[in-house]
């Protein structure tokens, strides 16, 4: 009999629950930010630095690079507490989630020493440079390219949808370092680009919600020294593929709309109708199950696996759920709602289209799952 993808139950260790209490204590004392209803919508360098002081950036990295040598499950607990609270994690999120792990896995020792400790101190924030105006899901079609020069490369081209590039420090860009050939995935490299370089131009793009969070980044003969090439030239595709399980597997892939559920509950607390209670129960049944599967994926990462298909599945089911949340709540919300509920709800609706686009579109993720079923 065919077995679908398996998500073995994983229990969080005792250290993780202790850590949870510490994060909750930390959050209880935090002020000055409104809980966001999409983790991508809140960023604060100061907040990230407060987290860094607690050792909660780069938690799983070796201590010699400023990390905490902690498990993926402990990191999972910290990240889910922050997301559930709607904390402004945007500034350090990418650096912590994938840029750092990329350098740990593929970077040179010098790169690890230069960048990782600074990330753990909340001093360096990173953006991802993959998409281009003509390159979205078909990542291998990128045109941004670099030519060899003395001591490095000259980079030309453009990246788009680069969240945070307007105030982050570095961008890791996937670029062509050899012309396209029959092997579509060959000839690409990743460069660490200094966003403050004179030949780098960052132009904000206003999203549908009216925020200027993402950008187009232009490279005009930017010099990239050899020591800013991540690992080996030509290994870009393998590097990007290895980031995917990290990028796709976390609790941000089903918790983006969580604050709307909390505000809904607050809104109905005095006299919840049967229908409202049933909708709340339904929402929670989805969240609990998705969380259990997400923890299972964190367990697979902890065990050293590459749960690419599992991560894609949890992200796909999670994102579809996130998009459903405001619609389900809307169908039974009270006629008169508080300004606080309205604000959270509207922010979620305006961000919702992006849930199933970012980090791998729904259609691409379903293609990955189909491949896991042996159909492609």
């Amino acid at each position: 009999m065919f077995q679908g993808l398996s998500f073995e139950p994983v229990s969080l260790p005792a250290e993780a629950e202790q850590l949870r209490r510490e994060v909750r204590d930390f959050l209880a004392k935090e002020q000055g930010w409104f809980p966001n209803s999409d983790f991508n919508a809140g960023e604060s360098a100061a907040f990230s630095q407060r987290l860094a002081e607690r050792g909660w950036i780069g938690m799983t990295w070796p201590k010699q690079y400023g990390g905490g040598d902690r498990s993926f499950l402990e990191r999972y607990v910290v990240t889910e507490e922050l997301l559930a609270a709607g904390a402004p994690v945007g500034a350090h999120w990418i650096a912590d989630r994938q840029s750092g792990p990329l350098l740990l896995k593929f970077g040179s020792e010098a790169q690890r020493e230069k960048f990782l400790p600074a990330i753990t101190r909340g001093e360096y924030f990173f953006s991802i440079g993959m998409s281009e105006p003509d390159t979205g899901s078909d990542l291998a079609s990128i045109r941004t390219s670099a030519e060899r020069t003395d001591g490095g490369w000259i980079l030309n081209g453009s990246k788009i949808w680069t969240s945070g590039a307007h105030h982050n420090h570095f961008l890791i860009a996937l670029v062509r370092t050899e012309p396209p050939s029959d092997n579509r995935h060959a000839g690409m490299s990743q460069f660490i680009v200094d966003l403050k370089d004179n030949n780098v131009t960052v132009t904000g793009i206003k999203n549908l919600a009216g925020e200027s969070d993402f950008n187009q980044v232009f490279f005009d003969d930017v010099f990239i020294p050899d020591d800013h090439v991540v690992g080996e030239p030509g290994n870009g595709w393998a590097q990007v593929m290895s980031e995917l399980a990290y990028e796709r597997s976390g609790p941000e892939r089903f918790l983006s709309a969580f604050r709307v559920v909390v505000e809904f509950m607050e809104e109905i607390k005095d006299e919840p109708t049967d229908e409202q209670m049933a909708v709340l129960g339904r929402l929670v049944s989805h969240i609990v199950t998705l969380r259990r599967m997400s923890i299972s994926v964190a367990g697979m990462l902890e065990a050293g696996g590459t749960p690419d298909t599992e991560a894609a599945l949890v992200k796909d089911v999670g994102n579809a759920f996130e998009r459903m949340v405001p619609e389900m709540i809307r169908a039974c919300a009270p006629n008169n709602v508080s300004p606080r509920f309205a604000r959270t709800f509207q922010e979620c609706v305006l961000h919702a289209p992006s849930f199933t686009l970012r980090g791998g579109t729904q259609e691409i993720l379903r293609g990955v799952i189909a491949r896991g079923l042996g159909l492609r």
Partner: protein, 329 residues
């Protein structure tokens, strides 16, 4: 899955593959009791309560076993809980209702009784305000009005006016246990059926050719199968939380409602991919989808359990919602 659990699963599924063929399922719908299957399950000790029971129910769901497996196990559990050590020796079905006692005679009516047409005995839980009682009856002493559900499984009404062959006092609120275990059993059976449907549908899509290629090569079909795989994975994981048949009410509510939701989506996609052939009695898909449509409504449908969950959540504050979610593990 650890080795021991895998061994148990393999043993169960070997018995089912040998003795619960599609032919056996069809024959049962026509009234033939699957006695050989039952005997093998019984001889292997599988019909007594135990750690294996949750996996047994998942596997039975995947093969559309047409017999009161969950009822016999839950009846066994109720008796053990009531301090009655002697195991059940025969196929037993289950019901609960208010009864009146006239001397040693119990009088009352129970409905939607599973497999009363083949089970020689029934355990009835009779609840009143202060205590519960269990009564085991010989089916031949009772008046049965036959009926079946959409899946052709016997779901009879029984008028009881008879003396139980055995009576045991049960812990109070045993009816809550029956609802939780019954719902857990349906959740497990549905998860098994959903996994089997995924396998059948992938196999169909990769072998059925149209336009010169297997239909699994079309993106429209791949995307649908990916959605099905998502619902199957969700169902399996949700069922893991009730696999001990002793789960708390939160886990039962989550499993029964979430898997019930998945059941509808999975059957829709399965029938769409299978095309017309899947819409026949001859093809085995119907054994599974008709059962999903029935089991999702037994022991409380999605709405029933979502409301229980929502009501419990509303007893605490919104600020505490996240803690409740993390406490559920």
């Amino acid at each position: 899955m650890d080795q021991e659990k895998q061994l148990i699963k393999d043993t169960i599924e070997r018995i089912l593959d040998d003795h619960c063929t599609p032919g056996v399922v069809d024959a049962a719908e026509a009234g033939t009791s699957p006695e050989t299957l039952w005997q093998h399950l019984f001889d292997n000790g599988l019909l007594q309560p135990g750690d294996h029971a949750g996996q047994l129910l998942r596997s039975c769901g995947s093969r559309a076993v047409p017999a009161p497996v969950s009822e016999t196990i839950i009846a066994g559990q109720l008796l053990v809980q009531a301090g009655h050590e002697e195991p059940l020796e025969a196929m037993t079905t289950l019901a609960m209702a208010a009864m009146s006692e006239v001397g040693e005679i119990w009088k009352g009516e129970v409905t939607n009784v599973a497999f009363a047409n083949i089970a020689p005995q029934i355990l009835v839980l009779h609840n009143d305000m202060n205590r519960s009682k269990l009564g085991l009856f010989n089916m031949k002493d009772l008046e049965i009005t036959s009926a079946t559900n959409m899946a052709g499984e016997s779901r009879a009404s029984i008028a009881i006016d008879a003396k139980p062959i055995k009576t045991v006092n049960a812990p109070a609120r045993s009816s809550g246990d029956v609802m939780k275990r019954g719902a857990s059993s349906r959740a497990l059976m549905m998860a098994g059926a959903i996994e089997a449907i995924l396998g059948l549908t992938v196999e169909y899509a990769t072998t059925r050719q149209q336009f010169g290629r297997p239909i699994s090569k079309f993106q429209a079909v791949q995307q649908q199968l990916a959605v099905m795989a998502g619902e199957a994975a969700v169902s399996m994981r949700a069922s893991d939380s009730v696999i001990g048949l002793d789960a708390n009410i939160t886990d039962v509510a989550i499993a029964k409602s979430r898997i019930g939701e998945a059941a509808g989506k999975v059957s829709d996609i399965a029938h769409q991919v299978h095309g017309a052939i899947g819409y026949t009695r001859e093809h085995r898909l119907n054994h599974l989808t008709r059962r999903l449509w029935c089991w999702r409504d037994e022991y409380g449908g999605e709405r029933y359990w979502q409301q229980i969950l929502g009501r419990r959540i509303c007893q605490s504050s919104a600020v505490g919602l996240w803690s409740r979610i993390t406490a559920a593990g």
